[in-house]
């Protein structure tokens, strides 16, 4: 590593050179033996504007080997790392296929395949020969042809100059649009290009400092700033549009179950603990809630385990507590489950407290896990952890209320839970309203905004308003039937489940591709100005 530690590998891509031929795409497939449907390097055919003002361009995409990668810290096993020379590496043998990295990437760079598809339905001699079993069920992505680079350096070649020591996409490019080299070397070709040409980095505002820099002007084609009108909301609703992110399918209902069950379970444990410590329920109730919570939490975790690509490797997910909220979630789950279990052997209230702390932290971890899905604009909003925690607590109240329903107790929680529920409903409602209202500003795509928009009335009415009224009745009207609280709780629970399921599995389109600047070329108003 010493040899490469002073280097900073990266690429420049000249948008005015690229003709979208896909030679790089297919050269990458050859060099890296990727299976059908997997394209580590891909060139998008992009159209902006409206006839007769139209611009078409080709955008090379793939792993940007970010200087500040969002995929690395989220990896719970350390399978994804950043080398000293900036390359983001994948250790297939360590990866569990949890897809945290895939949803954290705002560049749609990562892929997971669970079987070994073949092009013709049967494996050809070539496919058999180049098969990579180690890639099944784990995350994969462009490596900047790390082996070519390393072996090239070993052989005394110069990556970026010698084609065989340069990533296959750059070497194969028939328009010399893709150039590879060392950004730390001011004399490298890529450094010279960015020093002399106008360029942009994609999604600069996200702070990843991607190491693919897009050159966008030539003497006959000046640069122009992207105009929001380049892409109408109508265009952005079209998932066939090359720039529009597809709905992520990395995390499906099984993953959502973890957030749903995790929220309900951990929230209940926290609420029950608070009820117990404030004297509103007895320890017996708390223990029951803890047991129920444990089961719910375990179901959630079981569901998420079902979806990971390499199930037997799941224990490796504890390896990265330094940065990964998923690793941390496992640790705090351990605290919770351990405390609940230990209480049976040693009914010490300390274990009740540690269980509650574990549950609380678990809830918080979940918020942070979803929030670290930086590649999904609906997830990465800063209030996401708060939303999950607030919802979790509301769910906790609701489940506690349901569990308390019919509980043979002299203490009634109906005087405590309804006001708490009201406060949390109002707070959750406020958070949702803020979320829905700011969705556009926060970079959420029109597709997801529409989904959020259509969910909102249902959530407000059934998840917020009706429970609010019912809890209000329970609070203000003396001797209300506790079944009203129960109904209110169930409705609020359903509301919570609904929004989480929606955000995780439906309103979850991947970050759109975008160009910070555009080449000024095309028809009508986009036509390159006459240069005198």
């Amino acid at each position: 590593m010493n040899e490469t530690s002073h280097k900073r590998w990266g690429m420049t891509i000249d948008v005015n050179r690229c003709v979208g031929c896909q030679t790089c795409t297919v050269a990458c497939k050859h060099a890296n033996d990727t299976v059908p449907g997997v394209q580590w390097r891909k060139v998008l055919d992009v159209e902006v504007g409206e006839y007769p003002d139209v611009e078409r361009l080709f955008l090379v995409t793939g792993c940007q080997h970010c200087a500040e990668p969002s995929c690395v810290p989220v990896c719970p096993t350390g399978a994804t790392k950043q080398r000293d020379d900036g390359l983001i590496t994948m250790d297939y043998d360590l990866c569990i296929g949890c897809a945290s990295c895939a949803v954290a990437c705002p560049y749609q760079a990562r892929t997971i395949v669970h079987d070994e598809p073949t092009y013709f339905g049967v494996s050809t001699p070539q496919e058999t020969k180049v098969a990579h079993d180690e890639r099944i069920g784990v995350a994969q992505k462009c490596t900047f042809c790390i082996d070519r680079v390393d072996e090239g350096l070993e052989a005394g070649l110069n990556p970026g100059e010698d084609p065989l020591a340069t990533p296959a996409c750059a070497s194969s490019c028939i328009s010399q649009a893709i150039k590879f080299g060392d950004f730390n070397d001011p004399a490298s070709h890529v450094s010279e290009l960015v020093a002399t040409r106008d360029y942009f980095q994609m999604h600069e505002q996200l702070g990843n400092d991607p190491q693919i820099k897009y050159l966008i002007e030539t003497p006959a084609v000046p640069a122009r700033n992207s105009d929001p009108m380049d892409l109408s909301d109508e265009t952005l609703l079209d998932t066939e549009h090359a720039l529009v992110g597809k709905r992520q399918t990395f995390w499906d209902m099984r993953a959502a179950m973890n957030f749903i069950m995790g929220g309900i379970g951990s929230g209940s444990a926290v609420v029950a603990y608070l009820l117990w410590i404030s004297g509103n329920v007895n320890s017996q109730f708390l223990v029951v809630v803890n047991i129920v919570s444990s089961i719910i939490l375990a179901i959630g975790l079981f569901c998420v385990w079902l979806k990971i690509g390499r199930k037997l490797r799941a224990p490796l997910a504890i390896l990265r507590p330094q940065t990964s909220w998923m690793s941390r979630e496992i640790y705090v789950a351990g605290i919770f489950f351990g405390s609940v279990a230990l209480y049976f052997f040693e009914p010490n209230s300390l274990f009740l407290t540690s269980a509650a702390i574990g549950a609380g932290l678990f809830l918080y971890c979940q918020g942070r896990i979803l929030h670290s899905g930086k590649g999904i604009p609906t997830w990465r909003v800063s209030q996401m952890p708060l939303m999950l925690v607030a919802t979790g607590l509301l769910e906790g109240i609701c489940l506690s209320a349901v569990l308390h329903f019919g509980w043979d107790s002299e203490i009634s929680v109906t005087s405590i839970l309804p006001p708490a529920a009201i406060i949390l409903i109002l707070f959750n409602s406020f958070l949702w309203r803020r979320y829905a209202r700011n969705a556009k500003v926060w970079g959420i795509s029109p597709i997801d905004r529409n989904i959020i928009g259509s969910l909102s009335p249902k959530l407000y009415i059934f998840g917020h308003c009706i429970p609010l009224i019912l809890f209000g009745i329970a609070f203000f009207v003396p001797n209300t039937e506790s079944s009203i609280v129960c109904i209110a709780s169930l409705l609020a629970l359903i509301g919570s489940i609904l929004w989480k399921a929606t955000i995780i599995t439906r309103a979850c389109h991947m970050q759109n591709f975008a160009l910070g600047k555009m080449p000024h070329r095309g028809s009508g108003k986009f036509a390159a100005p006459v240069i005198n």
């Binding site: 159209e47 139209v54 070539q126 180049v130 066939e240 390159a528």
Partner: protein
């Protein structure tokens, strides 16, 4: 790739990709344990190859091609005598022995009997894929054809609409440009009418144009939809289909009429190097000196007319001149003129252009007059008239402007006009055949084929000689020698080995259905060889052609997989494909498209991997057929004469094959390797086949001065034959007489095109009239359907290769029919909807792909699909314009070409929307 070759079971095999006409490009195949695993460009040649030694996307499909499980695995014969699209051919495997004997015996029988049938047509016919690329794969099969002698190679597979047809013919006439390329290393401004070079000009073209763009070259793209090339251009100007000639005429008007042409054009070039000052008699032919019969020009200084080859520093260009002389018309008609008022070619040109104002052009083309003027002004501004540049020590004019024409622009009706207008514009600024301007890349009709310069010989009137097919009473070929009658109908098609393919290659199919009057009875060939072509998919009106193919009695198809043409075959011969066969080919110098090199030499294709099916190399097949049909000696003699690409016996060397002996593939190419290297190095470096297998290629420098024809012309005092087309007029008039003498009137519309100065017809109306002619109402067909090049698929016969399909999906248009979004909305069509497209002669179906970059009146179908037999491809549900275009005389121009164009209607059909595989995000957790 080489860096990983640490294990002895891995090797890297040098070979080439020549799947498309823009090649060849060199590559290396990584082979492990006899299995081809990966493929990469051959970077060894990156400094010499004009495209940096790279191969394009198509080459990467070759490994899948090799291991395609759908391959024909052994020779097969048909057992169902009934042929038809819905007939199961019931192919059964047979031995090579049986297959070769069956074909050879049939050949033998024909050759021993009479190689010509009752109509005088060859009984053996052969069709090959486009652009001459099959020749680069068929080994010594051309030697077998030469040994047979009479072979009809005029059954087209799409020629005429799929090629730059008018450009091929007029390009060779005017500046030895079978393809009119651009000197991209020097050009600064390109006006491109539908030339989709960034999808079609190959690695060299794309590499150099990208360099040019970064250098500052500006390209303005004029076309109905924004192609790949239009996207990359600085400006896209949407134009109504088939009106490019109007647009270009408007540009000419802006330059020569709206402004003082003497201030902005290359006056000296026009006066001294073109026929501009030639005087034209009242009958439209040159005024000639009565004694020498040389065309006259008017010397303003001496105030008298003089033969064109006298030094006239100040020739008359404009106005009228009173002169005496003779005029020699068609069939040697002669007129003697005394002191009559005549005009020059240039004045006639000015007069001719006067009606074509930018406003007029706007009405026809939808391009605003203001834009036309802007383009004309930019063109002039960038022409750098008067400037020079040094090329390898020689000073040459520097004119960095060029005009490129795409298919459908430079073929079919209007093709002549567009080619003429383009060449005229280039001539006005002196940018033809000079650095920075338009250059020809090679010759195919003129000879010798290896040198444009040598082929440009001065003729009696001061222009390049041209091998017109005779139209005189005595020498006109009244009875066509092959079924497409190129020598009879198309004087410009000349008579080279390429000419049959450049005649009206669709006529055999058309006439087979309905014979025209006063014409030999159309017959079917007794044997039809079919190699690397699929006319039942690639022809205009492909379904109609498929029906005709089904009528052929015996088809021998060299077959890789089943396809729509070999479905009708009687014998299938699985030949060694690209990574399995041996051949040496010439590379470098100046070839096709933009393969303009600074080197020339030879490259090898060699077997890279172990055999997986029971194939034979084309050379071995040819040898076996020759031996079994009694043609061995003639066959070997043809190889010795150079039918394998290189003469084996010359005055300098003799590597000839013994003619009465059957030679192995290795022996034949070993001799070729030695002869080729001997010739290339003047005997200094003689390499055998093994050397080529090891090294891949051999090169020597080639002067880039050869890219430009003008210096040669100037040196030899040859003038460009522009603006006035006296020879075209002459041949047209003579041809009309010959045909009418024979009672043929069905070619009259085509004869009208033989104008000395092509006048604009409302070309789009021809397609509307065709709808009426077929009994339809043009209002029912409100859209223009056009096609566009798919770089991923074109020429490659690779529609059955899934990896190519996968990556092609990233390029818009590979999922269906491109329709303007607004227009689709009006029709209630949304993205991915199933639609049916009907023309007056056929229909196709696919899915809607909504796009802004297409005119509202135009729909686009990329590539050529609508497969119904080819494995994998038949399940793609992709539409094809070839199912919509009409095989029709009224859509055939005088050169025998048509245009990829149809009037269509679109209907949303019931059925599910397009479902795309979720390959984009890959993950499917």
């Amino acid at each position: 790739m080489a860096l990983t070759d640490k294990n002895s079971n891995k090797k890297s095999v040098a070979t080439f990709c020549y799947q498309c006409v823009a090649g060849p490009d060199l590559m290396k195949v990584e082979v492990e344990d006899g299995i081809a695993t990966r493929l990469e460009s051959n970077y060894d040649i990156q400094d010499e190859h004009p495209g940096g030694g790279r191969v394009c996307v198509k080459a990467f499909g070759l490994i899948q091609k090799t291991y395609n499980p759908h391959r024909i695995k052994s020779p097969m014969k048909r057992t169902n005598p009934k042929k038809g699209r819905n007939e199961d051919p019931r192919f059964v495997p047979i031995t090579w022995e049986e297959a070769l004997n069956t074909v050879a015996n049939k050949m033998k029988g024909i050759l021993q009997d009479n190689p010509l049938d009752k109509s005088g047509y060859p009984r053996i016919a052969a069709s090959f894929g486009g652009g001459g690329t099959p020749t680069q794969y068929m080994g010594t099969f051309p030697a077998l054809l030469a040994a047979i002698g009479k072979v009809d190679m005029g059954f087209g597979a799409g020629q005429g609409v799929k090629c730059y047809h008018s450009e091929h013919l007029y390009g060779e006439l005017w500046h030895r440009a079978f393809i009119v390329a651009v000197d991209s290393p020097h050009v600064n401004y390109i006006l491109s009418c539908g030339h989709n070079g960034d999808a079609a000009a190959g690695v060299a073209g794309i590499w150099r144009h990208a360099d040019a763009r970064v250098r500052g070259m500006k390209r303005v793209q004029v076309e109905p939809h924004q192609s790949v090339t239009g996207g990359v251009a600085a400006e896209w100007i949407p134009i109504k289909p088939k009106t490019d000639a109007a647009f270009l005429y408007g540009v000419i008007y802006r330059i020569v009429i709206e402004q003082n042409w003497r201030d902005i054009c290359d006056v000296e070039r026009l006066e001294q190097d073109t026929n501009s000052p030639y005087l034209i008699g009242p009958n439209g032919f040159w005024m000639r000196d009565p004694k020498t019969e040389k065309p006259l020009i008017f010397d303003l200084n001496k105030k008298k007319s003089r033969p064109f080859d006298k030094e006239v520093k100040n020739p008359g260009m404009e106005g009228e001149f009173i002169v005496s002389g003779i005029e020699i018309g068609a069939d040697e008609d002669r007129w003697v003129h005394k002191n009559i008022k005549v005009k020059t070619s240039f004045q006639k040109f000015i007069d001719h252009m006067r009606e074509y104002t930018p406003e007029w052009a706007e009405k026809h083309s939808d391009v605003p007059a203001k834009t036309i003027r802007k383009v004309a002004d930019e063109f002039i501004e960038n022409a750098c008239i008067g400037q020079t540049i040094e090329v390898e020590g020689e000073e040459m004019p520097y004119r960095p402007v060029a005009i490129l024409l795409g298919k459908t622009v430079n073929n079919g009706w209007g093709g002549y006009n567009c080619c003429w207008a383009r060449t005229m514009l280039m001539t006005l600024v002196g940018a033809l055949e000079v650095p920075g301007g338009n250059v020809g890349s090679n010759v195919k009709l003129n000879r010798p084929a290896d040198s444009r310069q040598k082929s440009a010989v001065k003729g009696p009137d001061g222009f390049m000689e041209y091998p017109f097919n005779e139209t005189t009473k005595t020498d006109w070929e009244k009875d066509p020698s092959i079924r497409n009658a190129f020598k009879t109908l198309v004087p410009l098609a000349a008579n080279s080995a390429w000419s049959p393919a450049l005649g009206p290659a669709h006529l055999p199919w058309l006439f087979q259905k309905k014979a025209p009057s006063n014409w030999p009875t159309p017959t079917k060939p007794d044997i039809w060889f079919c190699y690397r072509t699929n006319p039942a998919i690639s022809s205009w009106n492909a379904p109609e052609v498929a029906d005709r193919v089904a009528e052929f009695p015996f088809i021998c198809a060299f077959a890789y997989t089943m396809d729509e043409t070999n479905h009708f075959a009687d014998i299938l011969l699985p030949e060694a494909t690209d990574l399995e066969s041996t051949q040496l080919i010439q590379i470098g110098s100046a070839k096709f498209v933009e393969q303009l090199w600074g080197h020339e030499g030879w490259a090898i294709r060699q077997p890279a991997c172990d055999k997986t099916v029971d194939y034979m190399d084309m050379t071995d097949i040819a040898t076996e057929l020759a031996a079994r049909s009694g043609l061995l000696e003639k066959y070997n003699a043809a190889i010795n004469r150079g039918a394998g690409g290189q003469k084996l016996i010359t005055e300098e060397f003799d590597y000839g094959l013994t003619e009465n002996k059957q030679h192995s593939n290795e022996n034949i190419w070993d001799a070729t390797a030695k002869a080729a290297s001997h010739k290339l190095s003047n005997g200094e470096e003689i390499h055998d086949l093994n050397w080529f297998k090891e090294n891949g290629y051999m090169l020597k420098p080639y002067s880039t001065k050869n890219w430009y024809l003008y210096p040669h012309m100037k040196k030899n005092k040859i003038r460009f034959e522009l603006p006035y087309q006296e020879r075209i007029l002459r041949h047209g008039t003579q041809l009309a007489r010959r045909l009418h003498e024979t009672g043929i009137e069905w070619w009259d519309k085509q004869l009208e095109e033989y104008e000395a100065l092509p006048s604009y017809d409302s070309f789009p109306d021809i397609w509307l009239d065709h709808v009426r002619e077929e009994g339809g109402n043009p209002d029912d067909y409100p859209f223009w359907a056009v096609t566009s090049r798919s770089m991923q698929y074109s020429w490659g016969l690779n529609a059955g290769i899934p990896m190519i399909n996968e990556v092609a999906q990233n390029v818009t248009g590979h999922k269906g029919v491109l329709i303007n979004r607004g227009e689709a909305k009006k029709l209630g069509i949304s993205e991915g909807d199933p639609i049916r497209i009907d023309s007056i002669s056929g229909f196709t179906s696919g899915f809607a792909v909504l796009r802004e970059g297409v005119r509202p009146d135009t729909v686009v179908m990329i590539g050529q699909f609508d497969h119904w037999k080819t494995p994998f491809a038949k399940d793609l549900n992709l539409p094809s314009l070839n199912s919509l275009t009409s095989l029709s005389l009224s859509l055939t121009d005088s050169t025998g070409s048509g245009s990829d164009l149809a009037r269509v209607k679109i209907t949303k059909t019931s059925g599910p929307k397009r479902t795309d595989q979720r390959i984009e995000s890959g993950a499917n957790l």
